[in-house]
C-alpha cells in the first residue's frame, strides 16, 4: 500500500512538472474558459428581461439571481467533473500502441490516469483560483441563499465524487477503444448528452417530472446538477444524505465497471501491426 502510494505520488509529481511545461498556453486556455460566463449572464438577463418593465420574477422557482448563481456553480462543478482529452487520450494510446507500457510494466493504467488527472486538475485550480474568486466576488449579490456548514461540506464532497464520476465515465469511454479503435463520435455523443443530462444547460428540475425521474437513474446529474442543487438549498438534510449516498454508489459501480472493462479489453488487445 505504502509502496503503491509512493508510485502514485511520483506520478502526481511528474505530471505537475509536465503540466507546468506549457504555462503560457495553459494560462490562456484558463482565461478563455471564463468567456462563456459573460454570454451566459447576458442570455439569462435577456430571458428574465432584467431591467425592463416586463421583468420575470421567477421561472420554475428560479429567480434571475438564482439562475446566475446556478450557472456559476455548474462552472465550478464542471471544473471538477470535466475531463478534457481523457477518453480520446486512452483511444489514441490504444491505437498507436503506447498503451503497451501499462501491460508490460508493473503499473496500473487506471491508477496512473487518476493521479495524472488529479495533478492536472490541481494545477488548474491553482491557476484558476484568482479568476474564480474575482468572478464570485463580483457576482456575490446573486447568491441569496444562506449557506450552512452542512451544505458547504456536502457540496465539497459531491464535487470530489463528481470528479471521480467524470473521470470514470470518460475512462470507460476511452476503454471502449479496445473494441472500436475509433471512438470520436462516441465522445461527441457523450458530450452532447452530458451537457443536457448533467444539468449544465438548464437546471434538471425545470424538466417534466417523468424526464427528471428518468434522469435520476443516470450518473450524469452528479457531475453538475447535484452539487449546485445542494449549495442552492434545493435539498433538505435527508435529501442531501440520499443524494450523496447514491453518488457514492455510482463511484463504486463505475470503478468496478472500469476495472472489468479494462481487464477484458487488455485481454482482447491485439497489438496488431507492430
Amino acid at each position: 500500500m505504502i509502496v503503491s502510494m509512493r508510485v502514485y505520488f511520483e506520478i502526481f509529481r511528474i505530471s505537475i512538472s509536465e503540466r507546468l511545461t506549457y504555462r503560457a498556453d495553459f494560462l490562456f486556455s484558463t482565461f478563455v474558459r471564463f468567456l462563456p460566463l459573460v454570454t451566459q449572464i447576458f442570455l439569462w438577463s435577456a430571458v428574465y428581461q432584467v431591467g425592463t418593465s416586463h421583468q420575470t420574477a421567477s421561472l420554475n422557482n428560479y429567480s434571475y439571481p438564482d439562475m446566475v448563481a446556478y450557472y456559476l456553480l455548474t462552472m465550478v462543478a464542471r471544473a471538477f467533473s470535466s475531463m478534457p482529452g481523457l477518453a480520446s487520450g486512452i483511444a489514441s494510446d490504444v491505437r498507436d500502441g503506447s498503451i503497451k507500457k501499462f501491460m508490460t510494466q508493473p503499473v496500473d493504467l487506471i491508477g496512473f490516469l487518476l493521479w495524472y488527472r488529479i495533478a492536472h486538475k490541481l494545477v488548474y485550480y491553482i491557476f484558476a483560483f484568482l479568476p474564480y474568486a474575482i468572478v464570485f466576488y463580483l457576482c456575490r449579490q446573486y447568491f441569496t441563499q444562506e449557506i450552512t456548514w452542512l451544505m458547504g461540506l456536502s457540496f465539497f464532497l459531491s464535487l470530489i465524487m463528481a470528479f471521480l464520476i467524470g473521470f470514470l465515465i470518460e475512462c470507460l469511454l476511452g476503454l471502449a477503444s479496445f473494441w472500436f479503435l475509433e471512438i470520436s463520435s462516441l465522445i461527441f455523443i457523450y458530450m452532447m448528452l452530458n451537457y443536457f443530462l448533467s444539468g449544465h444547460m438548464i437546471p434538471l428540475d425545470w424538466l417534466p417530472d417523468r424526464l427528471e425521474w428518468a434522469i435520476s437513474f443516470l450518473p450524469f446529474k452528479y457531475t453538475a446538477y447535484t452539487p449546485c442543487a445542494i449549495l442552492l438549498g434545493k435539498y433538505d438534510s435527508a435529501g442531501i444524505a440520499r443524494e450523496l449516498l447514491i453518488e457514492l454508489g455510482w463511484v463504486i459501480g463505475l470503478t468496478i465497471a472500469c476495472r472489468l472493462i479494462y481487464t477484458r479489453g487488455a485481454r482482447r488487445y491485439t497489438a496488431f501491426g507492430g
Binding site: 509502496v3 511528474i14 510494466q105 508493473p106 503499473v107 491485439t270 497489438a271
Partner: protein, 331 residues
C-alpha cells in the same frame, strides 16, 4: 533450466477484409468478411540464461508477434510458453519486474520532461532502492555517454540520444530478460554502432538473456551467435548464425585488378560481372569453382591483384526470403 521455453505457440488474428469499390464497401457496412492471419504458427524453441538470440525474417514474418507473446502483450491462440518460470500473458507484476521490452519505434519516456524525471518514476514503479538506483544510473549514463543530456527535455534530444535514454529506462531495474524490437531503427551508422557496442558489452558483463529482432543484419551479425529465422509465422531455422551463413554462402565476390586495360567482356563467361572499369572488375562466382576459375583467369589476363570476399549478409538474407519455398533446415 531454460529461461525462455516456447512450445507450439500459435497466434491467429481475425481481421476484417477491406472492400474495394463503392458497392462492396456499402455491403461491408451490413455484412463484414473476416479473414484469419496466422502471425505465428506452432513455434517452439528454448533460450538459455545469458544467450543473445536474434530473430530474423521479413516484415510480417512473426518476429514482433513472438516478442509480444513473450512479454505478455498478447495471449496466444494455442500453445504454451514460460519466461523465468512465469506465463507471460498472466501479466503478473512479479514477472514484469524481471524483464524489459524495448521497442525502437515506441517511446516510453515523457516527451516534454528531462529523461531523469522518467527514470525517477521507473525507480518507484520497479521499486529500485535509492542507492542501487543511483549506482545503476551512474553506470548506465557513463556507458552510454549521455550524462550531459540527463536534464534536457526528451523532445530536444537527437534520435540517437533518445534511444540511449530509452535503453537506460529499460535497464534501470536490472532485468534478467530483455526483449529488443528493432532497437536501432532509424539511427545513423554511428548511433547504430554505439547501441550495438553497448548491448554487446552490457550483455557480456551482466549475462542477461536477450531476444532481439532487427532489420539491420549488422545488428544481428554483431550481437547474436544464435539466430531464429522466421518466415510466414514458421521457424525455418534455429541455430548458429555461422551455420546459416555457411548454408547461404554458395557464392563469393571476386575483385580483380589488371596491370593494363583488358577487354572485360570476355570475363562474363566466368560468372556474373557486378562492376567494371578498364583496370578492375568485380565478379560473382560459385564458391566451389573459384580455385579453377582463378587459375584460368590468371593464365588469360595480366592479373595484378585478387581479393575474395563474402557477399553482404543483407544480400544473402534478401535472397533467402525471396525464395518461395524455403527448405526446412534442421535445427
Amino acid at each position: 533450466m531454460s529461461v525462455v521455453v516456447v512450445k507450439n505457440l500459435h497466434r491467429t488474428f481475425r481481421v476484417s477484409k477491406q472492400q474495394d469499390g463503392f458497392w462492396p464497401m456499402v455491403r461491408g457496412l451490413v455484412q463484414r468478411d473476416y479473414k484469419n492471419i496466422h502471425a505465428v504458427r506452432d513455434i517452439s524453441f528454448n533460450v538459455e540464461k545469458g544467450e543473445m538470440v536474434g530473430f530474423l525474417g521479413p516484415n510480417g514474418a512473426g518476429k514482433t508477434t513472438s516478442l509480444k507473446l513473450l512479454s505478455g502483450l498478447l495471449t496466444p491462440t494455442s500453445g504454451h510458453a514460460t519466461v523465468l518460470g512465469y506465463v507471460p500473458w498472466k501479466r503478473e507484476n512479479a514477472y514484469r519486474r524481471r524483464f524489459s521490452l524495448l521497442m525502437g519505434q515506441k517511446n516510453q519516456l515523457w516527451w516534454d520532461l528531462p529523461a531523469l524525471e522518467s527514470f525517477r518514476l521507473h525507480k518507484e514503479i520497479y521499486r529500485i532502492e535509492t542507492t542501487r538506483y543511483q549506482k545503476r544510473l551512474d553506470e548506465l549514463t557513463e556507458l552510454l555517454q549521455v550524462r550531459p543530456q540527463l536534464s534536457q527535455a526528451v523532445r530536444e534530444l537527437s534520435l540517437g540520444q533518445r534511444m540511449r535514454m530509452e535503453l537506460i529506462a529499460a535497464l534501470l531495474h536490472d532485468p534478467e530478460v530483455l526483449f529488443l524490437d528493432e532497437p536501432t531503427i532509424g539511427l545513423d551508422v554511428i548511433s547504430q554502432n554505439n547501441v550495438q557496442q553497448f548491448l554487446k558489452y552490457y550483455q557480456q558483463h551482466q549475462q542477461i538473456t536477450v531476444l532481439l529482432t532487427s532489420h539491420y543484419m549488422k545488428d544481428v551479425e554483431a550481437l547474436c551467435k544464435r539466430v531464429i529465422i522466421i518466415d510466414d509465422g514458421l521457424i525455418k531455422h534455429d541455430g548458429l548464425l555461422t551455420d546459416v551463413l555457411g548454408q547461404l554462402s554458395t557464392q563469393k565476390i571476386v575483385s580483380l585488378k589488371f596491370s593494363h586495360a583488358v577487354s572485360t567482356q570476355s570475363l562474363s563467361r566466368y560468372g556474373e560481372v557486378l562492376e567494371q572499369t578498364p583496370l578492375t572488375v568485380k565478379l560473382r562466382l560459385n564458391k566451389s569453382e573459384i580455385p579453377s576459375l582463378l587459375s584460368e583467369i590468371l593464365s588469360d589476363f595480366p592479373l595484378e591483384d585478387v581479393s575474395v570476399q563474402e557477399r553482404p549478409i543483407e544480400e544473402m538474407f534478401a535472397e533467402l526470403f525471396a525464395r518461395p519455398a524455403l527448405q526446412e533446415a534442421s535445427a
